[in-house]
Symmetry: C2
Subunit: 436 residues, 2 copies
């Protein structure tokens, strides 16, 4: 019998385990998960904290028992403490050992924690267990003031969740703008929306110390009974690195397009593994559930003896921040600079529906093209509706390496409740074409 | 001085005139329009009739005076009554003549009217003037009962508008289903929504006679103080045909990819002109504002001496029908049969947001692929939100001739308020892949 051991039971791990078992039911698939949960939506945590979602159970797509019913040997409370890649075994909870024929390392990500005094008091919101700890804390101390350290997606979503709970919320961000994945012009729209909702923004400010009842920043002191980390996350690679797996882009595990690590019989997928960025033309480290699911599916197919390829990502992400849908894909202006592209950007303001149709609201579209050859390089959309699924048009165009000129011609849908007759993306493409 | 004469002042005509003048301000651009309006949104008419839009002026994107301020010689109330393509002149209102160096025929579409007694009593809703006549009639007779003859997009939108005005509405459709552009399974969802809203559907029923106070159908008689045509429209080609312009697909004017007609110095664009269908691989006749605008832009660029190409359409259309966004692109199953493709279809039911996120609702996605080579051929989406912009992902995929397999891998956006972690389009693609 062939044994597949999967380390990690969330997006990438659980998808890989399920896929492998489905494709080859003869496989013995063991999934090790250090926490109590499998296949949960970490992206849903802010909505549980805000109260929009009633219980943590709702965030679980597939529980350990459901996986077990599908034939997977799920072991929760099982931390993989060491991997012996030559002897092909995994040590569990420092004492038990399990042999594998094929291994997937899907250890996920870990929230960034700046090395400052008291940072261990700040709550991460990476796992459902993190979220439960935060919820207990909130129930126990019913805070009047909160500090969110860092203005990435999760930080902004948590800030909004706290505001919804009636907690005065301060967001502290080191950079001049929140959301480093957006260009400044678009980030400013988001900042305005956050301020309108009541979030106190402290930009170009650093957190210096975290205490039980206050946070000290480079600009002063804020009383705060709860502090949350919103600095984004990086790959969690401690286990695999100790076992000799090579690190690549952004210190994530090196992988090829089959999600193989280069170490024999070992695959990696999810937040801990690098993937190919089709626009940048290089491998990158990205921590996103969609990517983890897709890469996990490919790893699972290959661990079941298949020959699946993961064709890469284009850098798509979306979030709902207060009144806005905030979406991005491809390269931002600063990424163009970093990767050596001569990016030209335009930003246009349009309406989400035909101007005369009731409920029409603002939407801003920024498109970036390559001065060298006229190719589309990236897009960012901030709007009161229709930004999320509109970014997918840009993502699909990037996937296919479309020219800006071609985007103008795309046969996109139009009816007054959904768009102007030239879709805002195409209005932006027309303007960008003039600049190129 | 070079004179450009444009016959028709709505989407294609006005876009072409504006584009030509903008690119070459030395051109003398004359735009002939038989009605009083230019550049209006015919698609917005149902929303004026329903009361969602307050006045017809709101539907005008650019009035004759606004065009004049941009240097275009707009002549409203000017019907082109003949064209002499060898002498290069256009006869206006049967007595005046104007010479041209370059001509655009943009005579638009005309609503289909079955040849039955009293059909002249039925209102078209093709032009703003048509809509004004209908509105006067409604104001005068305040009907209690309405009949809509035909279940195309415009028919359904008008039926909904009448219901909103409190008019009992009967929709009579000859085929077994409304919306011939959808496959039966998807059309049934729309029918259910219409019935829930109070529209009386009479399928497989023909209108036989139209009287002032009633309509006689193959199934009986309905009292009705207003009858509207909802049978869709075809190309209006009478003028150009008499002048010797060749007719092609669907009896629209033959055009090449520069929107030239083959007759010297004569271009055609909009509802009256054929365009290339990239998925079907042939020229087709399509009556849609988006296509008219895009083809008009290309014609305008070429009439100004440019060398623009119109790369074609993929058959995208969307409408809001009661609670649903109803969208389609590419080939339907019946179009696959007609054009000789071995189409394989799957339909999946999903949710518009993460299942646990408040406000999540149903969305159905149907995808069609080519059994011969695994290529995506078409898609249809009916959902309470997110169908309109989601079809654009399918349209962009079709534009780029993507394989179904690739659609599964697309890097589409995900956050709980907008989608499940696998977008419904990708869930459908995965299912379709199994069938192929």
């Amino acid at each position: 019998m062939t044994t597949v051991v999967v380390v990690g039971g969330d997006a990438a791990g659980a998808t890989a385990a399920s896929t492998a078992k489905r494709l080859d039911p003869s496989l013995d698939v063991v999934m090790l998960e250090r926490g109590p949960d499998t296949s949960y939506s970490a992206c849903g945590i802010p909505y549980w904290v805000s109260g929009d979602v009633r219980s943590s159970e709702k965030l679980v797509a597939r529980s350990p028992d459901e996986h077990r019913r599908r034939g997977i040997d799920v072991r929760t409370g099982s931390t993989a403490t060491a991997i012996d890649t030559s002897g092909r075994s995994v040590e569990i909870n420092s004492h038990e050992h399990i042999s594998y024929d094929r291994l997937l390392v899907a250890t996920g990500g870990r929230p960034r924690r700046p090395p400052i005094p008291g940072i261990e008091r700040a709550f991460g919101v990476q796992t459902l267990d993190d979220a439960r700890r935060l919820q207990s804390h909130l129930a126990r101390v019913t805070p009047r003031m909160a500090v969110v350290a860092g203005g990435g997606y999760i930080g902004l979503e948590m800030a909004e969740a706290f505001i919804k709970r009636g907690i005065e919320t301060h967001l502290v961000e080191r950079s001049p703008h929140v959301m480093g994945t957006l260009d400044a012009e678009m980030a400013e729209l988001v900042e305005e929306a956050l301020r309108n909702e009541g979030v106190e923004l402290h930009l170009e400010t650093e957190v210096r110390e975290v205490h039980d009842d206050r946070v000290i920043t480079s600009a002063g002191e804020h009383p705060a009974e709860v502090v949350v980390l919103g600095l984004g996350s990086g790959p969690e690679t401690t286990l695999g690195e100790a076992a000799g797996l090579a690190l690549g882009a952004g210190d994530a595990f090196v992988t090829d397009d089959r999600m193989a690590t280069g170490t024999e019989a070992a695959w990696a997928a999810g937040d801990c593994a690098e993937v190919f960025h089709r626009v940048a033309g290089r491998r990158v480290s990205i921590q996103l559930g969609t990517v983890a699911n897709k890469a996990g599916r490919v790893a699972g197919m290959n661990m079941a003896g298949g020959h699946a390829r993961f064709p890469g990502v284009v850098g798509t992400a979306v979030s709902k921040i207060c009144r806005y849908e905030v979406a991005r894909t491809g390269l931002s202006t600063s990424e163009c600079d970093r990767y050596g592209f001569d990016g030209v950007a335009v930003t246009i303001a349009a309406t989400t529906r035909a101007g005369y149709y009731p409920g029409s609201g603002p939407i801003s579209v920024r498109l970036i093209g390559d001065r060298a050859d006229g190719r589309l390089l990236g897009g960012q959309i901030v709007g009161v509706e229709g930004a999320a699924k509109r970014i997918d048009v840009v993502a699909t165009a990037l996937w296919n390496r479309m020219m800006v000129e071609e985007v103008v011609d795309l046969d996109l849908s139009y009816a007054p409740p959904f768009s102007s007759v030239w879709d805002p993306v195409q209005i932006a493409a027309r303007e960008l074409l003039k600049e190129l």
